[in-house]
Every structure is written in structure tokens, then in C-alpha cells.
Point group: C2
Chain length 477, copies 2
């Protein structure tokens, strides 16, 4: 078992969660290195997860009428500056192109940190009449933000994402779309990533630069820290006014459109790692596992074993994404590798199994071993993948719920934040000064004002004044 | 028919091919405008074609063992400069990032014009042993090249593409992969885009900066000009030596890897427009048509007509990508729009048709009208799409072949180039001076030395010295 140990040499979660995270990302071969500081390399195992996220999310988008487009990578400085709050939010963290070829540019261009300004510029030219509305566009691309501290998937100078940008004739329709897309994200996280999320609204302090309101889904990581996992913004007609995006309505008057934007990023992969992973490595929900089943032949040099393994691959290939590990590594090493890479089901098949017309299925989520007849292995594996998918969501929800606390007053609040990693539900007066004080004294931030409100008390947990909203608070990535 | 005329107001191909091209791109709503000079916007109709290209090509790649990855958008100047020929080829046309956030960078970064240098940097860190080989990686992304003159799809400052980058233990394996991927491209062009191509090798003058050999597929546009449609490069171990990409081989000695790269771009959409289009607009091969069938209800206000149209949509949706045009435009206007957008099959259904349990199918490629029974419309449409796909390739091949000429001597050559737009097959001595002279005096360039050689004469068409290769020459985009 010395070899098994070798692949497993990662820091334990309890000992050092941050180091555990880095170890998993490297040992599961999700990311790689180049000399470009602060930038991420997605290796095949990491990119394949993103492809599965993309494919399933894109299909959901299209069901709601979303169309994909592609807009320029670079934004002229003048365009970025048209909306005041937006430029203040983004200017300090963009990369500037100053030279094209051998010549200095007359106007600097920034590498898009997000594309609201470009979509406005485009819509201003493309929208004339109510007949041109709504525009429900999305693009899959990368964006650049000049972060100082970077961590794979969680914060890097470039990340992959999708950004939806819509334009509507009425405020109601824009609000409806904002909430609709947040629900698409929440359902996707639960059903595909097996991550339960809290849906709610950001406070003014935490909302997106230029938005009237920002909705968010917040997930809880294994270490009790929160991760903002997706956001959906309602811009009202603020951007439309700044960019002059107008249309002639049915009543023949000129009106400004109402806009939204919404996005999720490769950060979701970070969430999957930190919600589901354990000391053996990554644990992937079947729906985003590039390899769902790994067949490990036992005593593979014995006649018939490899043949049987590939026969099983053929069979299981109809219901799952399957690989055979026929390398010359030891079975123990292969088991550890399957675990490290988070493959949901391992199938072990050796001479004795073949004799008995059976194979052993090993679950990554529970380590349970199940002996099945080869006659019904297809249906068993298919069912097992469904079971694992569901079980992982249940486990994640239990962890989240058992790490969600309430605090009625300031002492309780400080105590929970200091000693019990997790979400803290507490009342808030609506004043930014209380938010600031909480952040300064505890490093916790307001994660969201959940759509599902509860009345924990009638006083602000910080200042004791009458409370307006129940807020989820927490330390966050 | 005034309305029909309105949507059709495009310049005729014969009158002004360049203007016709621009008109089609705009009227078919493939691209849009922003204030970012020289950059392209892909609107839904244009991007959906790219999505279908991506999906089908990506599946073909994966069948040959390709894995997708993602590398950084920006390249440090020092990295770009490591391979001498490569930097000379690209430095004059890259965009430079000089500031990140509020600070000037210590080293400039260029927006990737292509990613050979990044892959080398990555492989240098990631490859140690023969066990790590081959690496057969690809990425889908955009690249930036600071072009002076731009045209949608054909030449713009940013374009979408895929770039494959592989590393192998032997020169033979690298050469095999280079040719393999060229064949994937050629098959894709013929079977999916219905565009016949000439496969061959670029001359030294025309090859990629840093390559040992460049293979290309060359297509002929309707106006008789050539379009380089995809390239595959064998780098030998030149890049590996410049970047120190080494591995320990089975014999325990340290060796340099052999590398390849290969790419196709959104330019393919330009090829589809210019090979298949006509004075009524775009003509899309069914396999890349986002909408393959458009149902136009006739007298749609009559009871039962719209119901029948949507019933047909439901039915045909099983075998094709279908839309119903139930807007309040006139049928004539809708017909013209279907044509402009290149939709392969239009289905007309009105009260009389319903009475007779029939519908009329109209082919975009031949304008033929076919009356079919509603009982067998699914199979008829399905067959028709196949027929159109094949017929479009046949038509394109006929056009290409009838515009491919031979020239045995200099007078003939100049005459053909001046008077007969198309490919010219002619012998070449292998000397770059003849290539230069041909370009200067005729503006034609060597497109490729085709794999299928013919002996047209034994003398170079330019200098009369002994010929080494038969070359396809032509004016090119």
C-alpha cells in the first residue's frame, strides 16, 4: 500500500483547509502552471468539468429563450466610463491595452472585466422598436480582473464565465428575468452540482456596480465559509439612460429599455471541490464527472481479465462515461487515483469475479462496496449514479443546515462568528454603518437578504434599532 | 411584392462581389456593430453557425483522442520572444497590455495572437517522461491580431478559433498527427460545410512563423478567389529546443519533444457565405443551419392554419431544427427572409393545403417546389435535407473544377490570372524568387503544393528552369 499512499499525500482538511484545497486542485490535475503570473491553466480534467457545466447550463438557458452571441474582448476607455458607478467599480482592476502592433493607440482599451458597456453600445445601435425587444443574449467567454491575491478557480486574473445581458420594454419584465435566471442558477446548483444554495438579495453595499438590485445564490463550503456562486442584476433603466438605449413603443413614444445581467463562472468548480471533497481528494457529482465510472481490472495479466474489463466498458458506455485503467500501476494505486479524481463509481473486476459472473462497485461518496451480477450491471450502475447524485445533495444540505446558526444580539453574534464556522442568520436595521461595523469587528459580511425571510427578533443584531430584514452573514471567499 | 423587394435589396454578386458579401452579412444578421474599431460582433444567427461548427468539429477531434484545455489570454513579452521566427512573424501585429489596474507592469503582456509559446511553457513544466506523451490538447478561444483592413469573418482584429497543440516522442508521430488533423479539417469542410478543398503543403515563403512544414486546405470562393480555410503545422523540435521541452525516453536518455499545431477559425463562416451564397442571400448547408426548416403559414388568420403550422413544427422537430414564422409580415416578405437567412427548406402550408392534407416544400439550393402529403412529411423533409447537403457539395465542386485552370508557360499564366478568376495549376522550380515575381506581376500567390501532384510540364512556369513541384496559384483573401 506504499504506492496507494503516494498518490494520497495531501494535507488533511482539518489540519489546513487552504492547503488541502491546493493539494486537491494539483493532484486531481485540474489546473496546471505557466509563467503567466496570476493566470490559471485548466488541464483536461478541469476543463472537462467546465464543458459539462457549460453544456447543461446552456441547454437550460436556451429553454428560456436565451440566444448566444459574441462581443469584442476589448472596451474603449470612453465606453467604460459612460456609467459612473460602473466605471468606479471596475476601473481599478482592469488590464489596459495601450499599443496595437507597433503603434500607440489614440484611446486605451481595457480587456473586458464584464461586458455591460459593450452590450449597451451594441443595443443602442441594434434596438429601434418594441418589435426588437426583448433581447435575451448571453456569451461564453473569459474576463480579466487584475486581482492581487489569486487562488485557482476562486480568484484569478482571468476566469471563464457566461454573462447574460438582456433588454426589455418594461421594468416588470426586467425584474421577472432577473429572478428567473437566479432560479435557473439555483436549480442548476442543486440538481447538477449537488450544492444547496440560499437565494436572496444583496445589500446596497454588496451589490454590483451600476445595478438597482443584485440577487445572489450563496453556498456554504466544508470549512464553514460562504461562496457567492452566481449573481443576477436588475439595472433598471440606468445603463439605458447613460448609453441612450431607446426604443419606439407601441404607443409611438420613445422609451428607455430596462436591462439585466447575470453570470456564473469557473468558481463553481471551486465550490464543487470545497463542498464535496474529502481527505481522499475530489468527489464529483455524477452529472459533471467527465469519467463517471472507472473500471479497474484486478490481476489484469491473467487471461480474460482485460477482455472482460473492455467488454464491461462497452456495456456500461451506453449508460455512463466510462474508462478502463489498464496501465501497469498496482490496483491500490489505481483505487487511490480514482478517489483523488473524484470518479463517482469504481468497478473492480478480477478472475474470481469473472468466475462468479460478478463485479464489485465501489461508491466514491460513501466508500460502500456492492457486489453485482454482470447480467444486471448496466441497470445497477445507472441507478447507482442517480443515487450518488441525490445522496451528495442530501449530505451537502445536512452540512449546510447543521452549520447555519441564529444570533439575536451582538454578543451572540460575535460568539457564533468567532467559534462556529457557518452561516449566521440575524436581523439588520438596513443601515450600512452596522454592516461596516460587523465587517470590521468580525470579518463577516452580509451574504444576502434571503427571499425566505424569518423573524429572528425585532431588533438589529448590531445596533439594537428596529430590524428591517433578516440577513445571512458569514465569512466568505 | 414591394415588401419582398425590401428585404432583398442587396447588391448583385456579379456587379460587386465585395459589396454583396457585406450586404449578406448584415441582412442575414450574422454580425452587428459596436464602437470597437476592427472588432466583430457575432449576432445570434452568426454565432449559432459557429456553435454548430464547434460541436461537430469538437466531436471529431475527440474521436482522435484530443482533450480540451484552457491557457491564459495574455503572454509575457519574454515568452513570446523565445522562438526567433515566431516572434518576427507575430510581434508586429499584437496588442500590448502595459497596465494592470492602476499600475504599470514590469513586463508587457501581449493578447495571444496564437498560443504556441504558452503551450511550450506549459509543456516544459508538465512533461517529464515518455509516459506523459503524447499530449494532444486543444483550446477553443479568441485571438487578437492588429489588422489594418478588416472584413467580417475574413479578417478582423479578434476572431474565434480552435488551436490544437500536441507534443510527441518522435518526429514520425508528429508528422502523422499533422496530416491527420489536416484530413479531419478537409473531411469536415466537405461533409459538413459542403465545401471541397485542395489539400497540400505551403511553400517556405507561405508557411507559419516557426514551422518546419505547414499543410493547408484551400477553397475556391464564388468570385474565383482562394481562401485558406485551415492549417496544420509540424514544428519538429524547434520550439522544444527554444523552450527546453524535454522528456526522459524509455532508453533513459533526455530528448526534445516534437510538436504540432493546427487551427480553423470563424473564417469558415466567410467561406460558407462566399461558396454557397447567391443574389437572394445566404445559403446554408443543412448540417450547420441553425434553422433547417422554416414553416410559413399562408393566410394564417384563417382558422386552423396556425394550429396546423405548430402541429407540423412539433412533428418535424423530431428530424430537424424547425421554426414557425407567425409574425404579421406578409408571406412574400417571409419567403424572402427565409432565403436571405439561408434556411435550407421552407414549408408553405395554407387552407387549401390543409384541405388536401399536403404542404409545399421549397428548396433554398435549387428553388424547386415539392408538394408532399402531410402523412409522410417527416421522412420527406429528412431526406430532402440530406439531398440538399449532398447537392450543395456537388454544385460547389463543379464550380471549383470549372474554375481550375492549367498554365504551361509564363504568357499562359499571366493570361489566365488576368482573365479567368480561379485556381491555376502550374509547375514551379522551388525558388522563392519565382514566387515573388509571380506575386509582384500578377498578385497571385502560391496556395499550396497539392498532395496529389500532376506533371503539367517539366519546366517552371515563371523561369523555365526544371520544375520541382506542381503548385496551385491564385488570388486570395
Amino acid at each position: 500500500m506504499a504506492e496507494k499512499k503516494a498518490v494520497k499525500e495531501i494535507t488533511s482538511m482539518e489540519e489546513d483547509f487552504a492547503q488541502w484545497y491546493t493539494d486537491v486542485v494539483v493532484k486531481a490535475e485540474l489546473t496546471g502552471y505557466t509563467s503567466v503570473k496570476g493566470f490559471m491553466v485548466l488541464k483536461p480534467a478541469g476543463y472537462a468539468i467546465w464543458e459539462l457545466i457549460q453544456k447543461q447550463l446552456d441547454a437550460k438557458f436556451k429553454e428560456t429563450g436565451v440566444e448566444n452571441v459574441y462581443l469584442p474582448l476589448l472596451i474603449p476607455e470612453g465606453l467604460l466610463q459612460k456609467e459612473k458607478d460602473h466605471v468606479e467599480g471596475f476601473a481599478p482592476e482592469v488590464a489596459w491595452v495601450t499599443h496595437g502592433g507597433l503603434n500607440q493607440l489614440q484611446e486605451r482599451l481595457c480587456v473586458r472585466p464584464t461586458s455591460e458597456t459593450l452590450f449597451c453600445d451594441f443595443y443602442q445601435k441594434d434596438i429601434q422598436s418594441y418589435r426588437d425587444l426583448p433581447k435575451v443574449y448571453n456569451q461564453w467567454c473569459s474576463v480579466v480582473r487584475w486581482e492581487k491575491e489569486t487562488r485557482p478557480f476562486l480568484r484569478s486574473r482571468e476566469f471563464l464565465w457566461q454573462e447574460g445581458h438582456t433588454a426589455h420594454a418594461t421594468a416588470e419584465e426586467a425584474e421577472e428575468r432577473t429572478v428567473q435566471m437566479l432560479n435557473v442558477y439555483a436549480d442548476f446548483c442543486e440538481n447538477v452540482l449537488a450544492i444547496p444554495v440560499v437565494k436572496g438579495q444583496k445589500t446596497d453595499k454588496e451589490k454590483f456596480a451600476g445595478a438597482v438590485s443584485t440577487y445572489t445564490i450563496e453556498a456554504l463550503m466544508h470549512d464553514g465559509k460562504a461562496l457567492q456562486s452566481g449573481t443576477s442584476h436588475n439595472f433598471g433603466d440606468g445603463f439605458a439612460k447613460a448609453f441612450g438605449v431607446q426604443f419606439t413603443d407601441k404607443d409611438n413614444t420613445l422609451k428607455h429599455v430596462h436591462q439585466t445581467s447575470w453570470g456564473v463562472t469557473t468558481r463553481l468548480i471551486g465550490a464543487v471541490i470545497m463542498v464535496h471533497g474529502d481527505d481522499n481528494g475530489l468527489k464529483l457529482p455524477p452529472r459533471i464527472a467527465p469519467t463517471q465510472v472507472c473500471i479497474v481490472p484486478i490481476m489484469q495479466k491473467k487471461e480474460g481479465v482485460l477482455d472482460k474489463a473492455f467488454e464491461l466498458k462497452e456495456k456500461l458506455g451506453k449508460v455512463a462515461r466510462v474508462k478502463v485503467d489498464d496501465t501497469d500501476k498496482s490496483p491500490g494505486f489505481k483505487f487511490a487515483e480514482c478517489e483523488m479524481r473524484g470518479i463517482p463509481v469504481r468497478v473492480e473486476v478480477g478472475p474470481r469475479d469473472i468466475e462468479n459472473n460478478q463485479a464489485v462497485l465501489v461508491r466514491r461518496d460513501t466508500a460502500e462496496k456492492i457486489t453485482v451480477s454482470l447480467d444486471e450491471i448496466e441497470s445497477k450502475v445507472s441507478e447507482l449514479l442517480e443515487t450518488i447524485q441525490k445522496n451528495m445533495l442530501v449530505a451537502a444540505r445536512e452540512h449546510r443546515d447543521s452549520h447555519t446558526y441564529k444570533a439575536e444580539n451582538w454578543e451572540e453574534f460575535k460568539d457564533v462568528i468567532a467559534n462556529k464556522p457557518g452561516f449566521v442568520k440575524a436581523m439588520w436595521c438596513g443601515d450600512v454603518e452596522c454592516e461596516n461595523k460587523i465587517k470590521e469587528e468580525t470579518t463577516a459580511t452580509s451574504r444576502c437578504m434571503p427571499f425566505e425571510q424569518e423573524e429572528i427578533s425585532d431588533k438589529c443584531v448590531c445596533c439594537g434599532k428596529p430590524a428591517k430584514k433578516m440577513v445571512y452573514w458569514g465569512k466568505a471567499y
